[in-house]
């Protein structure tokens, strides 16, 4: 079959993927670095293409709570925002994690804190992988580094979200959201029928037939022992996710003496740095975590056998580097190089940092 290729912005690719995977609803609010998701969906008339509901909410808070309602009723719902808006969504995200509701949340990260800047950033790493809102919870966090991955991970995100009944975060950034690349599109999937939803999500509030008890979606449990057990259940789920869902890419790691660890836009630049470093005779390799939670701890630990040092390249003041240090446990030196304020690292800077530290 002939491939269907299209030149798209990263944000548009997420919108198209949502339609094609058979999502039931998108609820969002405009904010720079990601407004194209909502604009694209509105212009595509998904209500005509698949019956998908697209709604501009009154706030990010309302948008995530619309996603909560949709997910609680077994529907495939997605929202997107950029850093300040993702902060607003944290209440709803915590409630969704507590109520074990599946959804996809796209964060097209910009530099912060506060209003920060509209240039790309990766300073929302902690917020994404450590929970973000109140309580002990985790989001499955995927880090796309191309427009194709924005498309693919939207689809993968829904798959993981429903597999684990857990919100999935796509931690992208302003560069990947805005840039245009060729995307290979997948075939249009049918949206699930109500019967299929009832079968897939027997817990969902789809309307109570006589044959079953009423379904309740809640994160509330006032009895401490029961609440503790619910928390243990969540922790067991996250453990399982750590066992089964780690994803990463290695580039020229086979003989690497120095390892760069980077995700998203930083990983693209680091890939160029690896190539240039090797031309200069430095055996550099790149490990690109695709899942930030679960974090590829085992692979990183394994790499300590081989490399003299690791450099975490991030567009923040040093966040993922903490998880790398935990994984490495002092076996090899781990350094951080970050650009802030919406700036991106250059391949020259990365090589210079490796020369300086190791």
């Amino acid at each position: 079959m002939k491939k269907e290729l299209r030149l798209m912005k990263g944000n548009e690719a997420v919108g198209e993927a949502a339609i094609r995977v058979g999502a039931d609803g998108y609820f969002g609010y405009p904010i720079t670095t990601q407004s194209e998701v909502l604009e694209y969906l509105m212009s595509e008339k998904p209500h005509e293409r698949t019956g998908m509901v697209v709604l501009q909410a009154e706030s990010e808070v309302a948008a995530i709570n619309m996603v909560y309602g949709a997910a609680g009723a077994g529907k495939m719902a997605i929202t997107s925002s950029s850093s300040p808006g993702i902060s607003l969504k944290q209440e709803g995200i915590s409630y969704m994690a507590g109520a074990e509701l599946p959804c996809v949340i796209l964060n097209v990260v910009r530099g912060g804190p506060g209003l920060g800047t509209i240039q790309p950033g990766q300073a929302d790493y902690f917020q994404a992988v450590k929970g973000g809102g109140h309580g002990d919870y985790k989001l499955i966090t995927l880090a796309p580094s191309s427009v194709q991955e924005m498309y693919d991970f939207t689809i993968l995100g829904f798959e993981l979200a429903f597999k684990y009944r857990n919100p999935v975060m796509l931690l992208s950034d302003g560069a990947i959201g805005q840039m245009m690349e060729k995307v290979e599109l997948t075939e249009q999937k049918e949206r699930r029928t109500t019967e299929e939803i009832v079968k897939q999500c027997p817990w969902a509030t789809t309307g109570k037939p006589k044959s079953r008890d009423h379904n309740i979606i809640t994160s509330l449990e006032l009895q401490s022992d029961k609440q503790e057990e619910l928390n243990h259940k969540l922790q067991r789920k996250y453990k399982q996710v750590e066992e089964d869902e780690v994803r990463y890419e290695t580039i020229q790691c086979e003989d690497a003496e120095y390892l760069i660890i980077a995700f998203g836009t930083s990983a693209r630049i680091a890939q160029k740095a690896v190539k240039e470093a090797r031309e200069q005779g430095i055996k550099m390799g790149l490990l690109r975590p695709i899942t930030l939670f679960p974090f590829p701890k085992k692979k990183i630990m394994e790499m300590t056998q081989q490399v003299k040092g690791m450099l975490s390249v991030e567009m923040n003041a040093g966040q993922m580097v903490e998880d790398i240090r935990l994984a490495v446990n002092g076996k090899v030196p781990v350094e951080h190089f970050g650009r802030l304020g919406g700036n991106m690292p250059s391949s020259e800077e990365i090589i210079e940092q490796v020369r300086k530290h190791f």
Partner: protein
């Protein structure tokens, strides 16, 4: 004893749309009656199999334990956002929120007003007792001028704390609302009127007429620190003049 249970002697039967759980509400509180009315309306309109309710944060946070229909528990004030998505994705279902004054008129003001403005096809049951009951009697957006609460211990000073809000009148001005009414449940006559109002609201919702809001001015004898009887009397003398009962917007007004 068995004789009394015969069908022909049956004067009242609890609706199956309520579960058998014992209500946690304080004796004298209106929530129990309002729950029963909503449940009876759902039964009489044969909507149990396609009702999705949204519970608030507040005294009725556990409403989902009592209604024998599918239910979602929302974050504080966000019920209309949940209801928006659910009713759009299940357009034939009976979708309703059950909210108190703190939930609907303070932290959820934006969600309430915008759901009403978009004319989301939902029923909003708004129980207004002028106080935060569950958290222990703090001032609500609907607390009356000079009314005492734990956070307005010398009475609500409107210069400092703002004036009580009339949410029903406010949303009645929006084109998306179809039916807005204010009722009470402290006397049998009012209970009957409230039931009729709720029934209309659910019927209009099923006819896809937009947002239906039924405000019920109720008491909070615990929070107001009065006996139930005294609280009902106080409600008539103080709440009703500021929150007058009756229809605020009906389909005929359009």
């Amino acid at each position: 004893m068995e004789d009394i249970k015969k069908a022909e002697y049956l004067a009242y039967k609890k609706t199956e749309v309520l579960t058998d759980k014992v209500l946690h509400y304080c004796p004298g509180c209106g929530h129990g009656t309002i729950h029963r009315l909503v449940a009876e309306v759902i039964e009489e309109l044969d909507l149990q199999h396609k009702t999705i309710g949204i519970a608030p944060v507040g005294c009725s946070v556990l409403a989902y334990e009592y209604f024998n229909v599918d239910f979602q528990e929302a974050a504080h004030g966000r019920a209309p956002a949940l209801a928006t998505a659910i009713s759009r994705l299940y357009p034939d279902h009976a979708v309703f929120t059950y909210q108190g004054d703190g939930d609907l008129a303070a932290i959820g003001t934006a969600e309430t007003i915008h759901a009403c403005n978009r004319g989301e096809n939902i029923v909003i049951v708004f129980v207004n007792n002028g106080i935060y009951g569950m958290t222990g009697g703090q001032m609500a957006p609907t607390t009356l001028e000079n009314m005492k609460s734990s956070t307005s211990p010398y009475g609500r000073d409107v210069k400092m704390m703002g004036s009580p809000m009339k949410m029903s009148e406010l949303v009645a001005n929006l084109p998306g609302t179809h039916y807005v009414t204010r009722q009470a449940v402290h006397k049998p006559g009012h209970v009957r009127k409230t039931k009729r109002a709720l029934k209309k609201a659910f019927q209009y919702q099923q006819e896809k007429k937009g947002t239906q809001l039924v405000e019920i001015v109720s008491n909070c004898n615990s929070g107001w620190k009065m006996t139930p009887n005294k609280s009902n009397q106080w409600m008539e003398e103080n709440m009703f003049p500021f929150f007058p009962l009756g229809d605020i917007k009906t389909p005929d007004d359009k």
